[in-house]
Symmetry: C2
Subunit: 383 residues, 2 copies
């Protein structure tokens, strides 16, 4: 199995891009990644996307996008794992290169969400949950997460305000990220007074969706001269859990996160103590807490402590959402996993000022599809 | 790169399965494939599916299906390339195993189409074409193929009836395939008198859609004792073309078919003369002709000759659609690519009576997404 390196990254700002279509967003990120790598083409393209068929009435986007970027003959397919689509595409690209099937692969996460009405988007997002036993009963995604957060607070005895540091940290880190959707520092008071969405989840617990695209170019590590700007993928694993929350023995434990991170730790030969920062899937603040616990950074039920103690800030023990996370960079669902990877590469290259983690060597990214049904973990290492 | 073998196959009949949901169809095929291989689980699951989000309001089917078959922790993702999704999933599974990332992978093609109204299905299928420049102009899929067939007849001087052998052959081959949707022999007279759909495409030029699932279990070839029932994947390649027909220099040439088959021939070290049968993507009879030409079995513009001469029958020079093809086995879009593979394995194992090709050694399968925008080719070899 060949080691694989990321040699180029590109992204568009996460925003309401009313003037740009799915393929235009995709093209911007892909051409930026090629330019960043100093290349003009790649053999294959793997696209993480969740909603193009439902919201843009467009499937078969492999052919559409490869044509649009001027490489119409290349291999190109879409990979879908709900909000985990981005990392699923990365894993597909990784396997294509590591297997020797291809010598270069572009990986793209892209989502175009402003082509539809808000109600349509909510319905489309609900396709990530169990259609028969969750969505059809009226459980929207925020409602599912609200049930989980409620149960967590009840079970472990935390207060809602104990979750505030996760949102405050994300917003602070996004402030100077030009690709972030929200550039607005928030305070604990803002958090407490935020409008309720689905109790106990308020507006500052929930991440905003948006349009966006993020991309990376992958090549075999031994095909290029060593370079500080290249980043190696040293761990990659994907695992699933029951799609419906009610089927899980413990709805407060992300078993797919634990399974995939353990495999990735083993591959990389590292443990939580070696991780210098963690791009966590904070679709809701409760998800950050559950991921941190499943990945070994906190005991079961003790995740909020990492926020309260300041461990999650840029200078803390385990900095998370270093460029704003889903909460403030924004959550263009199928693209999110690739935003996490692009941001991790920025950190490992030392290009993340003013929220640069000090001399990071190893970064962790974790991307979640549905309420923990599909979880994909990657471990990246500085070149 | 490790060589990969298919050691188990499973399928459901293609039909209107009003009593079965997407996950139930998937489960039947997957459990049959595991049973056929004498195994109880696999590490990963790659799912080819096009329409679950639109028609079943269900994405994230990796988690859904792995949970349903009793393997809720396994890696599981969906791959989408319109009607080429099945072969795209096979290629993903192949790369997962050949890279060494996993030691066993289930590959599934599944589609549930009877949950929606016929008009919804037509609209959903149109997402495989260019949403802005084709679908939005009212061009349905059959309309696009009708334009191509019209142009072909006009350019190369064939008559519509010259295409009859493709449908007659497919129907004859499906007659005793218990998994086929149509069990009805047809004559040239039936073909001539068939109801027009979109001139010149009539009902017997077009394949019927349906519900269905087909699956295979992949393992490294060197991990198992040599066995006549195992089939090796010796060639695999995917290529794209412009999604919109009007953007192509020559709309009568499947350049993505040519690109992908050439790569696959090179990998396998074979040429068209070595192929003992060809599971062709006969969504419309014109597509069989274009594929045969692009894959080197006929000169440009001469594809219909292979039908007229009887070359495509089971005892002919290059038997195609040996179990009925899309035309008569049926075309459950995202599942079709895996039906082709399952049928090729049946042929190579000698389990395809009464339409068994005589002692086949090497089989070709080709799966097409959209009107030739994504084309994926596999070459399989008897164990």
């Amino acid at each position: 199995m060949r080691e694989v390196a990321i040699i180029g990254i590109g992204q568009t700002p996460v925003d309401e891009h009313w003037d740009k279509s799915l393929k235009e967003l995709a093209g911007e990120a892909l051409l930026a990644a090629l330019f960043d790598a100093g290349r003009e083409s790649a053999e294959s393209l793997f696209i993480g996307n969740m909603l193009s068929g439902i919201l843009s009435k467009q499937e078969n986007i492999g052919g559409l996008i490869s044509d649009w970027i001027g490489l119409p003959g290349m291999e190109a397919e879409k990979v879908e794992a709900a909000c985990g689509s981005g990392a699923a595409a990365l894993r597909a690209g990784l396997m294509a290169v590591s297997s020797g099937e291809v010598d270069s692969a572009l990986v793209l996460g892209v989502e175009k969400m402003t082509e539809s009405l808000p109600m349509e988007t909510t319905e489309a997002l609900a396709t990530a949950a169990d259609a028969d036993y969750e969505s059809a009963q009226g459980l929207s995604f925020v409602a599912i997460n609200a049930l989980v957060m409620q149960l967590y607070i009840h079970t472990y005895g935390w207060k809602h305000t104990d979750f505030a540091p996760f949102s405050i940290n994300a917003h602070a880190n996004a402030l100077h990220n030009p690709f972030a959707r929200l550039h607005e520092a928030i305070t604990e008071k803002d958090y407490i007074n935020a409008r309720m969405v689905a109790e106990p989840i308020n507006l500052l617990d929930a991440s905003p969706t948006g349009d966006g695209a993020a991309a990376a170019l992958l090549v075999p590590a031994d095909s290029i001269a060593p370079d500080k700007r290249q980043v190696k993928i040293i761990g990659s694993a994907s695992a699933t859990d029951t799609i419906a929350i009610h089927s899980r023995k413990d709805p407060l434990w992300l078993s797919a996160a634990e399974k995939s991170v353990r495999k990735a730790y083993d591959q990389a030969g590292v443990g939580p103590e070696d991780i210098d920062f963690f791009e966590v899937h904070d679709a809701f603040s409760i998800m950050s807490v559950l991921s941190l616990e499943a990945c070994g950074f906190a005991e079961r039920g003790q995740g909020p402590k990492l926020g309260v103690n300041g461990d999650i800030t840029i200078t803390g023990r385990i900095p998370i959402t270093t460029r704003g996370g889903l909460k403030a960079r924004g959550h263009p669902v199928g693209a999110t996993g690739m935003y996490q990877v692009v941001e991790a590469v920025q950190q490992l290259r030392g290009e993340a000022n003013p929220t640069q983690v000090e001399h990071p060597r190893i970064g962790l990214t974790q991307n979640i599809g549905g309420s923990g049904a599909t979880i994909i973990t990657h471990i990246l290492k500085a070149g």
